[in-house]
Symmetry: D5
Subunit: 96 residues, 10 copies
């Protein structure tokens, strides 16, 4: 089941640089784990923003909630969730 998730990241000026680097690395590792599992199906950078547009493929709204709340950078994110579904015109069997 598909959801578009738009994440805007805002790390405050003067935040500890080392801790920031640690969190970004943890975020990247968690992302790749979820991408490998097929859960975090797509991610794109938004040009000019510290932000991304992503598509998640999850079993339930609870699973999505738990994943998002557990992201290392979650405390710095503003998140917008939009439920999606397959488009009837699509010719791709696996266009998720």
């Amino acid at each position: 089941m598909l959801f578009m998730v738009e994440m805007q990241v805002n790390i405050p000026l003067g935040f500890d640089a080392e801790e920031g680097a640690r969190l970004k690395l943890a975020e990247k590792m968690r992302f790749q784990e979820l991408q490998a599992a097929g859960t975090w199906r797509h991610i794109w950078r938004v040009v000019g923003q510290y932000a991304n547009v992503s598509v998640f493929d999850v079993e339930s709204t609870s699973q999505l909630h738990d994943i998002l709340m557990g992201l290392p950078l979650y405390p710095f994110m503003t998140i917008k969730v939009t439920p999606l579904c397959r488009h009837p015109s699509s010719m791709h069997e696996d266009d998720r």
Copy 2:
């Protein structure tokens, strides 16, 4: 080059049903042509809306403009365009 395009369709109440059906069919055929060409890379329905979220892969902003303005349902659409780029964390070579 990637752009997210969000399309909201609003066909007015009382619009000629036959003409509406003709336009939707033309829209579907144009979509599939562009999907087959790899230009309209992704499309998803937004739940509860006559709307979609799409990702286009184009050569230039002019190409994108011409494609959007030429869509059969364009006169009924409200469109929002967001420039995207590949995300550095992505492990998929072709995640466009």
Copy 3:
């Protein structure tokens, strides 16, 4: 899986009264069918508005989309969908 759906209904001034009554009756019957099935779990009127706040319990985002698009009054509705999940503090086993 739970979704809050907020529906605002706007039937234009001068719309045929008989057709309007027919659509409202069809809407009510469809609602009661979905309520009996446990899909349309909650509905409340918003005070002073021709609007409701509802909670749906569905298998998938596609099912929710099909239900909403098929409502007899759908062409007159503005709809907002918010994905929900069970709250960890709730003591009610079936608080859906």
Copy 4:
């Protein structure tokens, strides 16, 4: 008498962790007390947010005000209150 209450919680970065945990526990206990009393009739998590959608069943607007202002996490909340009433189409006698 029913009111939808939407609560967004925002605990600032760097807030004392122990005090935060104490407040969350107090909030949970107060919630369960009010849920047991039938006053806080429904609560759902909003996916991806530290937020909930709730339905309160109260005797008066004053009672609702006193309850909300007294919540342990109130100083961290942004709150939106929407008055509701029973929907005439509902078949559930106790759909509050």
Copy 5:
């Protein structure tokens, strides 16, 4: 129980003048009936707008909903409802 109700009236250009006058008279009579009953406690014009700010004193949200939906000019109104309660600092016993 008190609610602030803000009503904006928008009668479309070209609406039948006689019917408009009839509805405004009916609205005025209904208002005075509710004012005499103590239900529609206050009403003020908003300067420069065909709009008013009102305070209702009702038994329940359902009563308020039925009153508002039944106003002769309701189909032309945009309505905003805000639940109020007595202010603890007020020295007026009946400041409703």
Copy 6:
């Protein structure tokens, strides 16, 4: 001459509690002085908010400005002012 004034109070987390209590008391005393004088004609709490809706009866816009700027809690307030006038349908001679 009547004005609706909507006041939202926001005292920052961690503000000195004693100073806060002192300011609230001074605010209450100033309010009661103005209420006794008939200048601050109405005040209601907004449910779930540290906010009020008030109606002032003043001689001039300057008088209103001076009163508002001089409120002890003014530095913590967000204020919205709406000019009102008597409603022609009102049956109350003194509905100010």
Copy 7:
């Protein structure tokens, strides 16, 4: 007593040209009558808009309301009213 009034005029496409011209002339004459009386103290065009920014000097909010509601183009206007007062730094005795 001073009020800033911002007026946006929107005469629909296809409105009868002769009637439009008649209303604009009546508006201009009413404006000049009020300008001569010192009531409509200032008026400026907003560049690129069929809109003006004005300053009124009136005895009461009721007077302002009656003036605005009586403007020949009122039915086509969107109006925003902002109460003003003399600025303490101004060196002009009559800066109204």
Copy 8:
């Protein structure tokens, strides 16, 4: 050439009082210099706000920019600039 400039001033809680007084005095002196020169043609207080509505008469957009950026309170201001021009209906030769 005329521009409406709306200035909202927000000096943070706890800002050094002496420095604040010094800046306000400098602002007042700069204002009066510009008023005497005919550049800052009008200024009014917005009721209930630490804000003003002003009209500037300048030679160019650059001159206006330099004036605004050089105001002693500029770092605390939110500014909105609207280009104006003389209204054709005005009977005042010098209504600037």
Copy 9:
């Protein structure tokens, strides 16, 4: 003197096609006249919209107002005007 002008064009569905074509041609000719004169210095299409971003170089706000109000497609436009000035860092003598 420079102004950014953003123009959104909205010709209603069902507008007479021949008249529409005539207006667009007149608009194009007027544009080219102003471009040749150096007044309409820049124009760009906004991707996916029937809209443009333009930069005008004019003698006065009145001249800009007259030009915009006289555009053949003006009755169909929503216009936003932003005053600009030369940037101090620019190395181009004629970057207008």
Copy 10:
């Protein structure tokens, strides 16, 4: 390929003045380097704001993203990106 980029700069009160000056100088140097390369084609100040409107001419959305994220003042900027394309009516061959 053209993009309009609107940049609003907000350096917090009390930010170290020397560091601020160093960043502004670095920003200016980076700007001039990009202007000389033809990448940052246009820049204008927005009157009354610490903000600019710019037009970039880039090879790809990725190039634009990297440029913007690398600006010395980027951490203090709010950025809005709008994709543009050449306007068919323009007579200038190089109106980029």
